[in-house]
């Protein structure tokens, strides 16, 4: 475990040097992710100024849901972005075989091969929005609350990563897994707004089947006093289960993998 942490540090240092060489690119990347989110946020702000609440959720509560989604998303974006392109950037050109002959876990190698700086933009905007929302709601940051927030963000990040892992495993069979990953990933848009605004089938889908709702809605409910009961603790549980399932599928896929050249 310690060895892997040290290795990750080495990989990170390497990429940091590459990043410094292309500073403008880094700035544009971070600004672009911020710009993508700013539009949705401005819309929420403009609309919520004119109405008292969205099915009982006030402006700051809606912002909390929005910000938590960005924070969780940023985890996957920063640390596991290579899952998106495993097919087209590694398996198809044959570069994936390189991971198989190294004395480290191929999945670790794939993830550590790229730290995506664009995700920092998501992280910043998510942090700022959660901060503003909490201030607006008068949430005092006691130690248990901060710990719960950290747990929620990490679990949310793990849910994003695990779902991307599960869909990217299809690359071992169909080579380009990107459309499959995108199909599942894009449903996370629903998680940006409070679940009560949706029809029942979407609420069920987002809580129990593709549980992006867990990354933002239930933690936001817990933090803003909507009291979701035991559902507040579903995110870490779901994250653990999904990660286990994802890793299991990954090993099955790896066993099936024969390379594109043979």
């Amino acid at each position: 475990m310690l060895r892997y942490l040290r290795l990750y540090g080495a990989f990170l240092a390497l990429q940091w040097r590459t990043m410094l060489a292309y500073r403008t690119n880094f700035l544009i990347g971070a600004m672009s992710t911020i710009a993508m989110q700013a539009g949705g946020l401005l819309t929420v702000w403009v609309v919520m100024r004119q109405i008292p609440s969205l099915h009982g959720w006030t402006l700051y509560q809606v912002l909390l849901v929005y910000g938590l989604t960005s924070l969780a998303l940023s985890m996957g974006h920063m640390f596991a972005d290579n899952l998106w392109i495993i097919g087209r950037a590694y398996i198809r050109p044959g570069g994936f075989d390189r991971f198989l002959v190294r004395p480290i876990d191929p999945l670790f190698h794939l993830l550590a091969d790229r730290f995506c700086y664009d995700g920092i933009g998501d992280f910043i905007i998510g942090g700022v929005v959660v901060g503003i929302a909490a201030a607006g709601l008068g949430v005092s940051w006691t130690v248990p609350r901060l710990l719960y927030l950290a747990l929620a963000v990490l679990s949310g990040g793990a849910i994003f990563i695990a779902l991307n892992l599960i869909t990217s495993v299809t690359a071992f069979w169909i080579t380009d897994s990107l459309p499959v990953t995108l199909a599942v990933f894009q449903t996370h848009q629903f998680a940006r707004y409070p679940l009560p605004i949706y029809a029942a089938w979407i609420r069920v889908l987002m809580t129990w089947i593709i549980p992006f709702g867990l990354v933002s809605f239930y933690p936001a409910a817990q933090l803003s006093g909507h009291n979701p009961g035991f559902m507040a603790w579903m995110p870490p549980l779901a994250a653990a289960l999904l990660l286990l399932a994802g890793y299991r599928l990954w090993t099955i896929g790896l066993r099936h993998y024969t390379g594109t050249g043979s």
Binding site: Y22, T24, N25, I28, G29, M31, S32, T33, I34, A35, M36, Q37, A38, G39, G40, L42, T43, V46, V47, R49, Q50, I51, P52, S53, L54, H55, D118, I174, T175, D176, P179, V180, L182, A183, Q186, T187, Q189, F190, Y193, I197, Y198, A199, I202
Partner: protein, 270 residues
């Protein structure tokens, strides 16, 4: 015999690879449709929740806003040209040099290609998803042919304006290699200020004036607000006139920027 098997095996592998590519293409198509259906469902849910507590928000009725938002979600993919990225990559990998010596106008070539994809997206995505959305959410369009005529003209001018904007952004690739980020940045800004998320008339005065001062609304908000019944038809002459001014200014700017950038060109790596 063994050799024969191996030889046949090679062609089977080639055929499987081709089949996989074809499937991947089909898959992309369905995923795009699914994504669009998803955003429409999401936006309709959001706006219905907004109108749950009052009949009029920002001077618009629920049916106006919901029709408007469904139409924008159907047509935004049409207005998002891929020029920024394709021109950008041409510049980045240096193939722009060989494109420039060809005996035709590069800009017109991109425009012609773009128009073809506009037609394809309307037929393959906007119409089928529109029919589904009409069945699911029951939005209704006007029957007045004059409204449709104004809408179509305004939309055609609008997407041409959008083309020149994208061309200008693409020219930045002469100065940075981060083409993908550039495209996303443009989409992020355009997404809000084009009115793709919210009718521009709902914005508070400061933001609204900013949105009107930017070109993005000319391709989305102006034409669609006519069709959704937000802008009355009496405003049509003024809307089209403003669009024509934008068109003239941006077409000139795009030409000038490109010629100036080409002179600057050093092409990556030499």
């Amino acid at each position: 015999m063994k050799r024969l098997v191996r030889r046949v095996g090679v062609y089977v592998a080639v055929a499987v690879a081709a089949l996989q590519r074809f499937m991947a293409y089909r898959l992309w198509f369905w995923v795009t449709l699914l994504g669009q259906a998803l955003t429409i469902t999401l936006f309709v849910a959001f706006w219905k929740a907004v109108y749950a507590s009052r009949a009029s928000v920002g001077g618009l009725q629920a049916h106006q806003t919901i029709t408007y938002i469904i139409l924008t979600q159907l047509l935004v993919p049409v207005t998002a040209w891929t020029v920024t990225m394709s021109l950008g990559y041409f510049i980045r990998d240096g193939s722009i040099a060989s494109e420039l010596v060809r005996p035709f106008d590069l800009q017109l070539r991109f425009y012609a290609e773009g128009l073809a994809s506009v037609a394809a997206i309307i037929m393959q995505q906007a119409i089928p998803i529109g029919v589904l959305a009409a069945l699911a959410f029951g939005f209704r369009l006007p029957l007045d042919p004059v409204v449709w005529l104004v809408f179509v003209s305004s939309f055609l001018i609008g997407i041409t304006i959008s083309f020149f904007v994208d061309w200008l952004v693409g020219c930045f690739a002469f100065f940075t290699t981060e083409v993908w980020g550039l495209g996303i940045l443009r989409n992020g800004i355009a997404q809000f200020f084009s009115g793709a998320l919210i009718p521009l008339v709902m914005l508070p005065a400061g933001l609204r004036n900013l949105a009107y001062a930017l070109p993005f609304g000319q391709a989305v908000y102006q034409p669609i607000s006519i069709l959704a019944g937000i802008s009355p038809i009496s405003q049509a002459p003024r809307i089209i006139l403003v669009q024509l001014v934008w068109l003239a200014v941006l077409a000139t700017a795009a030409r000038l920027a490109f010629t100036a950038s080409v002179r600057h060109v050093t092409v990556q790596g030499g």
